[in-house]
């Protein structure tokens, strides 16, 4: 520091009454990390303002930087739905259960984009915020969570557009729409665990992950019933195997709720929710174990 450091010229005016602090237990105890540690929920709660600030930053930047802004959020699933409708509906002539294929694919893409957005934003959040991680203390878990919030906003906007499309096509929203938020709740949870698991596997390989992740997602997009329905998978063993992908019931369930057509399998849904929770928790544990080393690795 080569600053001209003038000693502060302010005289101590009135020394504040020093309360005997050490009588109280210390507010912060820094200890070497143990292998297993409980999640510090109170810490997360204390930093809720930061969580909000980070999410608001992401959202503002996203909608301010691109000229298309909001338009892009709408266009992306629309274009995607158009392509799926053409490839799967026109060319491959797959069955959409009697619904307009564009709408059908749009509903699938909505759910998929939410998952996709959550995974990408959350898994990239640590590397993207590396300067923060190496300079400031806060619960690292805030970073992926803030990514999830901004992904949810994108989803919300696209959902409104979807409703408008439904109205235009003369299909008033049905009661089953009320089910949609339920899927909405579980889908990010599913996304969450995936990025957490990825992050865990990442750890030291954090930068590599950002390259392998899109490839895995690309594969998953076609392995999930986004552009087609589960019904076209041959019943029996193939469909059973197919349903091992916990994402499949989410996307189907969300689509059924949105469009008001079709059935939701109780068993497969239960399985998917169970998997989401399990993998989410597993991801959380791995994240916790890796968390304390992030500043050293990034």
């Amino acid at each position: 520091m080569s600053a001209p450091v003038a000693p502060p010229e302010v005289e101590p005016l009135a020394v504040a009454e020093p309360a005997p602090v050490s009588a109280k237990p210390p507010m912060v105890c820094i200890r070497p990390p143990r292998a297993w540690e409980a999640l510090d929920l109170s810490g997360l709660w204390r930093f809720r303002d930061l969580l909000l600030a980070l999410a608001v930053r992401d959202i503002k930047l996203r909608y301010r930087q691109t000229v298309l802004g909001v338009l892009w959020v709408i266009l992306q699933p629309l274009l995607g739905a158009g392509i799926f409708a053409f490839v799967f509906g026109r060319v491959a002539r797959l069955d959409s259960g009697g619904q307009p294929y564009v709408l059908f694919a749009y509903a699938g893409l909505l759910a998929w984009n939410l998952f996709n957005g959550v995974v990408l934003k959350a898994s990239g959040s640590l590397v993207a915020n590396a300067p923060l991680v190496s300079k400031v203390f806060f619960p690292r878990l805030l970073l992926p969570f803030s990514g999830v919030i901004s992904a949810l906003l994108d989803f919300g906007i696209a959902l409104v557009v979807g409703e408008i499309l439904l109205l235009i096509s003369g299909q008033p929203p049905t009661v089953s729409l009320l089910m949609a938020p339920l899927w909405l709740f579980f889908s990010p949870a599913a996304g969450h665990r995936r990025r957490l698991a990825l992050r865990g596997a990442g750890g030291r390989l954090s930068r590599r992950e950002s390259t392998s992740c899109p490839v895995a997602l690309q594969f998953l997009l076609y392995a999930s019933p986004v552009g087609y329905t589960i019904a076209i998978i041959p019943a029996g063993l193939p469909r059973l195997l197919y349903k091992l992908n916990p994402l499949a019931p989410f996307i189907e369930g969300f689509r059924v709720s949105l469009l008001g057509h079709g059935l939701i399998g109780v068993r497969s849904s239960t399985y998917a929710c169970f998997m989401a929770v399990v993998i989410f928790l597993a991801g959380l544990i791995v994240f916790r174990r890796m968390e304390r080393q992030f500043a050293d690795v990034i």
Partner: protein
Amino acid sequence: MSSDTVISVRNIGKTFRIASTQHRATTLAELVAQKLRKPFTRHSRETEFEALHDVSFEVDRGEVLGIIGRNGAGKSTLLKILSQITPPTRGEIDLHGRVGALLEVGTGFHPELTGRENIYLNGAILGMNRREIDREFDSIVAFAETEQFLDVPVKRYSSGMYVRLAFSVAAHLRPDILIVDEVLAVGDLAFQRKCLGKMGEIAREEGRAVLLVSHNAAAVRALCERAILLDRGRVVHDGEVNDVLRSYLDIEPSGAAVLTWTETNAPREGGFRYRSVAVLNSRGEPASVLSHDEPFTIRLEYELDRPLPGLRVGFLMQTTEGVEVCGSNDVHVADEETRQPGRKFSECRFPAHLLNEGRYQLRFGADVPHGPVYILTPYCLEFSVEDHERHGESRYRLPGVLRPALHWAIDSTSPAIG
């Protein structure tokens, strides 16, 4: 431990594991290939590096403690542990009160966001909640003197405005324990003083503890009454600031400015080979820290395998910020006899009172014009010059690269110097 102790650090140690990059897979394909070939060996070999050993100290409320040490002494590591960015490997720390760590000014500032948005974001990052920021908002803005630009993205700010705003948010942070890195070296002088005054005010009036980390002796002397000296990861002195600073300047610099090449990695060409280069203080010892009022020497050691008439050996110097300072070689003293085969030293003596306080780096060259030798190393040797007197009441650094002792005279008739 007295009842006023707010920071208690007990036997802190930190070991870094450094994975050697040679055996480490950098892509997934490589990793898979490695695992397939030798599935049971661990492929990333790690070496351990002890950054801190057994560091203990306590700080009372209202106290401003300076932590001083050379580069690599462990200051930054200690700071990162205290601010919970990285965990210790051993030991315990208790902190009584809210901790605010200022490792950098403007962490998290985003160029696309406006001044107002950045105040809220940066405040939240530094640990203020929304209510606190609301309360301090006007005062932050007034302090930074950027009222008119509040709703302009900070990418359009001048660098001075940017730093002022960032600084202002930090200066309004009100933790019980404030940890400050050498961040105060930015911004214009008047504003820096304003900030330090503000922090001192908060520390004194409200009895907060401040930890100031620096390698600048003058800054620590001005702000702290007590200091601890870190050397190679250990506390070697804890006491009154002037005593500690004395031992700081006495200890053998851990990074003595010497660079010795081995047989295999030495820069060589056409029968010329470098052996070592060094910066020597006025006592002829290798030193990486020099006082501005002592002469010093740059010594180049090399070997000739055969006679090299016309050989020139020399160096180029710049500041660590990249300002070119000078270059020189031994062409004027070289002759037939000095360029015969064998081990040689070329020494260049610098007078006292030449370089200003600052950090400098050197690169080394050797050539025979239109001949068999042309060597120019990268910048590979660093040293710093310290100015213990400094200037005027507030002891600030004079501007510029040079700090010459010039002859002045005052007389009522002109010319004063005859």
